[in-house]
C-alpha cells in the first residue's frame, strides 16, 4: 500500500523529465498540507510537554536533565519543522529514532517509582509526531512499523503492558494509518494528474509533428504531380496524385469508421473523402456533417454506385465532382460527371425493358431512407445525381 518513490528522488526534486510542455504537477508538493498539519501538531504537543515538565520537574530524579531534554525537544521540533516544510521527507526515519531515544530518556530523567506507577513519559503526545512523519513520508506500512517501534520504546520505558500503553498504541495506530492513507491517496492522484498532463502534451506534440510531416509530404507529392509531364513517368505521377488526394482528405476530414452501430454519428464529409476515387473533387461545408451510421451507409453505397456508373459511362478520365450540403433537416449529396451523358429516351427504354439497373438501385436505396434521387442528364452535359435524405426526427443539425 505504500508508494516508495524511485531511488534517488526526493520530494523537493523537480517533477521529472516526463512532462516537456504545458503545466507540471509536483507530486511531492501534493502532501504539503499534511506536512503543515504535522508541524502544527508538533508545536501544540511541545506546549503540552512543557506544561507537563513544568508541573512534574520537582518530582524528577534529575530535574536539570529534564529541562535539557525539553530544550532539545524544542530545538528538534524547530529543525524537523523547517526540514519537512522544505520537503526533506527522508528525515522522518531519523526523526523516529531521535524521538524514541528522547522518550526513553524518561528512564534517566524521572524517578523509576513514578514511572512504574504509570506516570507520563517526558515526551508525552509529542512522540506521536515522528510516527505521523513516517506515515506522510512513506505511507501506511512504514507507519505501522513506526507505531510498533514507538510502542516498543514506551514498553521498554514503562515496563508495563497496561491499559495506558494499549490505548497509546491504538491511538498511534489509528493516526498513523489514517495519515498514511491520506498521503498515499494524495500522491496517487497527483501522479495521475501528472501522467494525464504528460500524455496530453505528448499527444499534442505528436499531432503538431504529424501536421508538419504531412504538410511536407503533401508539398512533395503536389510538386511531383505539378511537374508531372517533365518527369516522364505518368504512372508515378498518377500514384503521387492519388496519394496526395487521399492524404489531404484524411488530414482535412479525419479518419472515418462506418462499422459502428446504426445510431453512431458519422461525418459524411470524412466518409465521402474515404469512399471517392482520387480524381473526384469533393466540395463540402467547413464543419463536419454528422448523420447516424444507419443513414450514412446506404447513402454512401448510393454515392459509390453513382461514381462507379460515371466511371463506366464517362470513363475514369472524366471529371467527377461531389458536393455535400447540410440543410439542417436534410442532407444533399450531388454527384456529377462531365461525360457524354445519357441520351434522352435511353432511360425510358431501359425501364420499358424491365432492367433499370443502377438507376433503380440508387432510387431504391434513397427511397428506403425516405429521401429522393434526382437524375439530370442530357447529351454532352454529363450525368448529375442529386441525392437528398431527411435526417430522422430529433436528429440535430450535426454541428
Amino acid at each position: 500500500m505504500s508508494t516508495p518513490d524511485a531511488p534517488g528522488t526526493t520530494e523537493a526534486a523537480a517533477p521529472g523529465p516526463v512532462v516537456r510542455r504545458g503545466a507540471t504537477v509536483d507530486v511531492g508538493a501534493a502532501v504539503a498540507p499534511l506536512w503543515r498539519g504535522l508541524v502544527a501538531f508538533r508545536v501544540v504537543a511541545l506546549a503540552y510537554a512543557v506544561v507537563n515538565v513544568v508541573r512534574d520537574v520537582g518530582l524528577y530524579a534529575r530535574p536539570a536533565l529534564g529541562i535539557a531534554v525539553l530544550a532539545f525537544m524544542a530545538v528538534w521540533t524547530l529543525v524537523t519543522s523547517v526540514a519537512y516544510l522544505r520537503g526533506a521527507r527522508r528525515l522522518a526515519v531519523v526523526d523516529l529514532v531521535v524521538t524514541v531515544l528522547t522518550t526513553m530518556s524518561t528512564l534517566v530523567v524521572d524517578d523509576p517509582a513514578r514511572i512504574a506507577a504509570g506516570g507520563p513519559v517526558i515526551t508525552t503526545v509529542w512522540s506521536a509526531g515522528a510516527v505521523l512523519a513516517v506515515a506522510i513520508a512513506y505511507g501506511i506500512r512504514p507507519a505501522v512499523g513506526a507505531v510498533a517501534v514507538s510502542v516498543g520504546a514506551l514498553w521498554i520505558t514503562r515496563r508495563a503492558l497496561d491499559a495506558a500503553l494499549l490505548s497509546d498504541a491504538q491511538l498511534l495506530l489509528v493516526a498513523g494509518v489514517a495519515v498514511g492513507f491520506a498521503a498515499v491517496a494524495m500522491r496517487r492522484s497527483a501522479r495521475r494528474l501528472q501522467e494525464a498532463i504528460a500524455t496530453e502534451a505528448a499527444a499534442a506534440e505528436r499531432e503538431r509533428l504529424a501536421r508538419d510531416i504531412h504538410d511536407g509530404v503533401l508539398q512533395v507529392l503536389g510538386l511531383m504531380r505539378r511537374r508531372g509531364p517533365a518527369l516522364g513517368d505518368p504512372e508515378l505521377v498518377r500514384a503521387a496524385a492519388e496519394q496526395e488526394v487521399s492524404l489531404r482528405r484524411l488530414i482535412t476530414r479525419g479518419p472515418v469508421g462506418l462499422d459502428g452501430p446504426d445510431d453512431e454519428a458519422v461525418d459524411l464529409g470524412a466518409a465521402l473523402g474515404a469512399a471517392l476515387p482520387a480524381r473526384a473533387v469533393l466540395a463540402a461545408p467547413p464543419d463536419p456533417v454528422c448523420v447516424r451510421s444507419g443513414l450514412a451507409r446506404p447513402l454512401l453505397a448510393a454515392v459509390r454506385e453513382a461514381a462507379a456508373n460515371a466511371d463506366a459511362h464517362a470513363g475514369t478520365d472524366s471529371g467527377l465532382w461531389v458536393l455535400l450540403e447540410d440543410e439542417g433537416d436534410a442532407v444533399t449529396i450531388s454527384v456529377r460527371d462531365d461525360g457524354p451523358g445519357i441520351p434522352a429516351g435511353r432511360l425510358e427504354d431501359a425501364a420499358a425493358q424491365g432492367h433499370l439497373g443502377i438507376v433503380s438501385s440508387i432510387r431504391g436505396r434513397l427511397g428506403e431512407l425516405g429521401g429522393t434521387a434526382e437524375l439530370v442528364t442530357a447529351p454532352d452535359e454529363g450525368v448529375e445525381w442529386e441525392l437528398r435524405v431527411p435526417r430522422r426526427d430529433g436528429e440535430g443539425a450535426g454541428r
Binding site: L218, G222, R226, R227, R248, W321, L323, L324, E325
Partner: protein, 213 residues
C-alpha cells in the same frame, strides 16, 4: 510575389511563373516577411501559402490588404485546412487553389486574379456554401444582427460552381451572361469579407442607395 515557407516549392513556383512570362517581383519565406516586403515591391498578385511560421496566410493577407488595398491575393495551399481557407478568404483573399494544380492552371489562376476575377473552385464553393448556411442557421437561432446573406440566385451559382461547372456552363444553364455569373461570385466573396460593423454599415448604405436608384 510568392510567399511560402518551403524553399523548394517557393523557388519552383517562382521559376514556373517566370518561364510563363510572369514577373516574380519578390519571394518571402513567411507571412511576416511578406508583410515587410510587400510595400517595397507593390505586387499585383500575392501567391500566399496558409500554414507558415511567424504570421500565417490569413493574417498576412489581412495585413497586406490593410497596407496595400489594391493588391490581389491568391491562396495556394497544400493542406486544404478548411478553417484556414475560409479565414484567408474572409481576410480578403480573392481566390484559392490547391498546390497540386498544374502549372497551366496556376498561371491561368494568377492571370485571372490579376484581372480582378475570383479564383473560385468547387472546394472553396462548398466551404462558402456551408459557411453561409451556418450563418443563416445562427441568425435564425439567435435573432441577432443579420449578417449579409446570399440571394437564392447566388446560392444557385455557388452550387453549380461546387459541382464543378465552369462559369460558361453556369451562364448557359441559368440563361445569364458570363459577366453576370462572375459578378455573382464576386458578390458572394464580398459578403463573406464583410465582417466588421463599419463594413456592414457601408454595405447597408450601398444596398439602400442601390434600391433608391
Amino acid at each position: 510575389m510568392v510567399v511560402d515557407d518551403h524553399p523548394m516549392w517557393r523557388e519552383g513556383v517562382a521559376r514556373d511563373l517566370g518561364e510563363r512570362g510572369l514577373e516574380v517581383v519578390a519571394t518571402a519565406s513567411d507571412g511576416a516577411a511578406a508583410v515587410r516586403i510587400a510595400p517595397a515591391v507593390r505586387p499585383d498578385v500575392v501567391l500566399m501559402d496558409l500554414r507558415m511560421p511567424q504570421l500565417d496566410g490569413a493574417e498576412a493577407t489581412a495585413a497586406i490588404l490593410a497596407a496595400l488595398p489594391g493588391t490581389r491575393i491568391l491562396i495556394l495551399s497544400a493542406s486544404a485546412e478548411q478553417g484556414d481557407v475560409l479565414g484567408a478568404v474572409r481576410a480578403g483573399a480573392s481566390g484559392y487553389l490547391v498546390k497540386s494544380a498544374q502549372v497551366a492552371e496556376l498561371v491561368d489562376a494568377v492571370e485571372r486574379t490579376a484581372a480582378g476575377q475570383a479564383v473560385f473552385g468547387p472546394e472553396l464553393a462548398g466551404l462558402v456554401l456551408g459557411e453561409f448556411r451556418r450563418r443563416e442557421q445562427a441568425a435564425r437561432d439567435s435573432s441577432g444582427p443579420a449578417e449579409p446573406a446570399v440571394t437564392p440566385r447566388e446560392t444557385e451559382v455557388l452550387r453549380l460552381v461546387a459541382k464543378g461547372l465552369t462559369a460558361r456552363r453556369i451562364a448557359d444553364r441559368l440563361g445569364l451572361s458570363h459577366r453576370t455569373v462572375e459578378n455573382h461570385v464576386q458578390n458572394v466573396l464580398r459578403k463573406l469579407q464583410l465582417t466588421n460593423r463599419v463594413e456592414l454599415a457601408r454595405y447597408a448604405i450601398e444596398q439602400g442607395l442601390d434600391a433608391d436608384s
